[in-house]
Symmetry: C2
Subunit: 357 residues, 2 copies
C-alpha cells in the first residue's frame, strides 16, 4: 500500500480525545533496542545496514500489533512522504534523511511505529492521546516483549540494554507528554515552571524536539536519565510531574478568567477572527492562533468548535500536509494562501460561535 | 437646547454619501473674518472679547442658514462637549480650550459652523460629503454675503480681508478635501503623491490637521496661499488636484486587485476578523482597520456592509463619542473595552459578508 493512502485512511489519532486533554495532548514512550552481533547503524557499512534491516524488518512487520499496518524501506519514500511522517511525529528528522538500509513499520492506527536503523537498530514508539503514560508504557512493553521472542536484543546484566549513544543506555526508554500551556505562557509563569521541572531531572522542549522554540504554547516533558532507574519508576516520576504542571496550568487559566477575562477573550477572539478571515497565513501563526482557539474550546468559550476539529487543522496546516491536501508541490507563499483557504473554510462555517459578553 | 441632545439628533453628516466618495470623504471651506474697530482676539482683554462675542454671536445665530441651529458661549460647555465637537471637526482644538468671550454657532445639520473669537473674530466653516468643493464654496459664499449685510468686516482694498495671522490675509479662505488613500499607502506611492501635491502649492496633512500622522489612510489636501488669487481660482486648483489624486488612487486600487489581490483580501479580511471579534481595541487601530473595511466596501468585496455604517462607527469609536454613548466618564482602558463591544455588535451582525475566493 502506498504511504499516502495509508496515512490518509487514518485520522483516528487526531480525532481521539484522552484523559486530561485540556492540557495533555499526547503521551509517548520510545524504546531504543539493538540486536546482538551486528554493528550499530552509525558504525556499519551500507551492505551491513541493508542486511540488518532486511533481517529486522520482517520480524517487526509480522508482529500481531502491526496487523494491517505499513512496512517499507526508507529508500522508495519521496521527500514529501518523509515530511508527512515527521509532521505526524512518526519518524525523526534524522530518519527522514535515510535511504536504503533503513526502514519503517507503522501499526494501522499509527499509535505504534518502529524506525529501523535510525541511531539504533530499533527505535520503537507508542503514542496515546491525553495523559496515559502508564497505559502507553504497557502498550510498548507488550510490543517489546513480543519482539524479544523473535529478536535477540543486545543486553548486559550490568549496563542493561546497549545503545549507540550512552545517554540511552540501560532502559533505553524515553517517556514524554506533550503539554499545552497557554495559561502559563499568558501569565508569564512558564519559564519558572520549565526551570522547576528541569531541576527535577526532566527535559522540557518545544514542539519538534531539541532546539526548537515553543510554537503553539506546546511543551514536551520527558525523562533525562535512562540508567539506574526502572521503567516503572521513570514512568511514575513523569506522571507525577505532569500532574503538577496540569495543576499549575489550571490555576493559571482560572486566574486569567478571574482577573483578566477581557484580555483573554481579546486574545482568543482575535485569533478566531484572524484565522477565519485571513487570506495569507504562515504555519507558525496558524499554530499560535489555533493554540488560543484550543484554550477557548477547553474553557467552553466557543460553541460549535471542537478539539478534534482544531487538532486536525493543526495537523493539516503543516507544510507537507498542505501539499498532500492540495495534491501538488507548493512554494512557501502558495502554502500560506492554501492554508488560509483551509482555515477560512473550516472556521468560517462554525455556527453558534460565541464568546461571553 | 443642550449640545449633546442637539448633536445626537443629527447623524445626517455621517450618513450622507457624496460624489466621488470612494476617495473623497468630505469637502470643506473655511473663511476667516474680523469686524472693524475691534482688536483681534489674541490682542483683546477678556472684557473686550466678551463684548465682541456678544456683538457678533446674535447676528450669526439670526442668519436664516442657522435656523433650528445651536448657539452658545464656550463657557458653559463641558470638556466632553468640546471634545465631541473636535471629533466632529466642528471646532478646532484651540477653540476647545476657550471659555467666556468665545462662542459657537452650528446649523441644524452641522454643515455650517462658526467659531467666534478663535484666532479671528469669525472662523466660518461649511462642509459637504464627497467632492463638492465648488458647491461647498457657494454655500459658504452665500452665508458670508448674508453676514456682510449685518457685520462690517475689516477689509483693505490692497490686502483684502484682514486677519490675525498674515497667512490668512486676502481671501481668508482655506478649502480642503479629506481624501481616503489606502491604495496609494498599500502600494507605497503615497509619499510621492504627497510631494507632488505639495510642490503644486498645496498642503497635505493627516486626519486632525497640522502635525498629526495619517491615521486611517486619511489625508487632507488644502490651499497654502490666501493672497493674490481669487476664491474661484483657489477652488478650481484644489478641485483639479483632487481629481488627479483620485485618478492615482483608483489606479493604485486596480493595480492591487490585478497584481496583489490576495494580499489585499488578506489585509481587509484580517481587519474585519479583528474588529468583529476583538474585546480590546484602541482608537488608532480602529481607524486603521475601519479604513481597510471602507476600501473593501468601495471595491464591492463585502455584502451587507455600507459606507455610512462604517463612517458612523468611525465617528462613534472616538474617545468623547464613546463616553457619550456609554453615558459616563471612561478611562482609556475602559474605552478600549466599550469600543470593542460596539464594533463586535455592529460588525458581528453583518450578514452575507463575503470576500471573493
Amino acid at each position: 500500500m502506498e504511504l499516502r493512502k495509508f496515512l490518509s485512511s487514518t485520522t483516528e489519532l487526531s480525532n481521539c480525545e484522552g484523559p486530561q486533554d485540556h492540557v495533555v495532548l499526547s503521551s509517548r514512550v520510545r524504546l531504543a533496542r539493538n540486536v546482538t552481533g551486528r554493528p550499530f547503524p552509525g558504525r556499519a557499512k551500507k551492505a551491513s545496514r541493508v542486511e540488518t534491516c532486511d533481517f529486522i524488518q520482517p520480524a517487526i512487520a509480522a508482529a500481531s500489533a502491526m496487523r494491517g499496518g505499513f512496512s517499507e524501506s526508507m529508500k522508495p519514500l519521496q521527500a514529501l512522504d518523509k515530511q508527512l511522517l515527521v509532521e505526524r511525529h512518526l519518524i525523526s528528522r534524522e530518519h527522514a534523511a535515510k535511504g536504503a538500509g533503513s526502514g519503517l513499520v507503522l501499526s494501522k492506527d499509527e499509535t505504534l511505529s518502529v524506525m529501523i536503523n535510525e541511531e539504533d537498530h530499533l527505535r520503537m514508539q507508542a503514542l496515546l492521546p491525553g495523559l496515559q503514560v502508564k497505559q502507553v508504557w504497557q502498550k510498548m512493553d507488550r510490543f517489546d516483549t513480543s519482539l524479544e521472542k523473535k529478536l535477540d536484543f543486545a543486553f548486559d546484566s550490568q549496563l542493561g540494554y546497549l545503545t549507540a549513544c550512552p545517554t540511552n543506555l540501560g532502559t533505553g526508554i524515553r517517556v514524554s507528554a506533550m503539554l499545552h500551556l497557554p495559561g502559563l505562557v499568558l501569565t508569564d509563569q512558564v519559564n519558572q515552571i520549565v526551570q522547576a521541572v528541569t531541576k527535577l531531572g526532566h527535559a522540557v522542549r518545544g514542539l519538534y524536539g531539541e532546539g526548537t522554540e515553543a510554537l503553539g504554547h506546546l511543551f514536551q516533558v520527558s525523562n533525562q536519565m535512562t540508567l539506574g532507574e526502572s521503567e516503572a519508576d521513570i514512568i511514575e516520576r513523569i506522571h507525577k510531574v505532569v500532574l503538577q504542571v496540569i495543576e499549575h496550568e489550571e490555576n493559571a487559566r482560572q486566574t486569567l478568567l478571574r482577573t483578566k477575562a477581557k484580555e483573554l477573550y481579546n486574545h482568543i477572539g482575535r485569533a478566531y477572527g484572524t484565522l477565519a478571515h485571513a487570506h495569507i497565513v504562515s504555519s507558525k501563526e496558524t499554530m499560535n492562533q489555533l493554540s488560543l482557539l484550543r484554550l477557548g474550546v477547553k474553557l467552553e468559550l466557543f460553541k460549535g468548535l471542537t478539539t478534534p476539529m482544531l487538532d486536525e487543522l493543526f495537523l493539516l496546516s503543516q507544510p507537507a500536509h498542505m501539499q498532500e491536501l492540495v495534491g501538488e508541490k507548493l512554494s512557501g507563499e502558495e502554502r500560506d494562501l492554501h492554508r488560509a483557504d483551509l482555515l477560512r473554510k473550516h472556521l468560517g462555517k462554525v455556527k453558534g460561535l460565541k464568546l461571553p459578553e
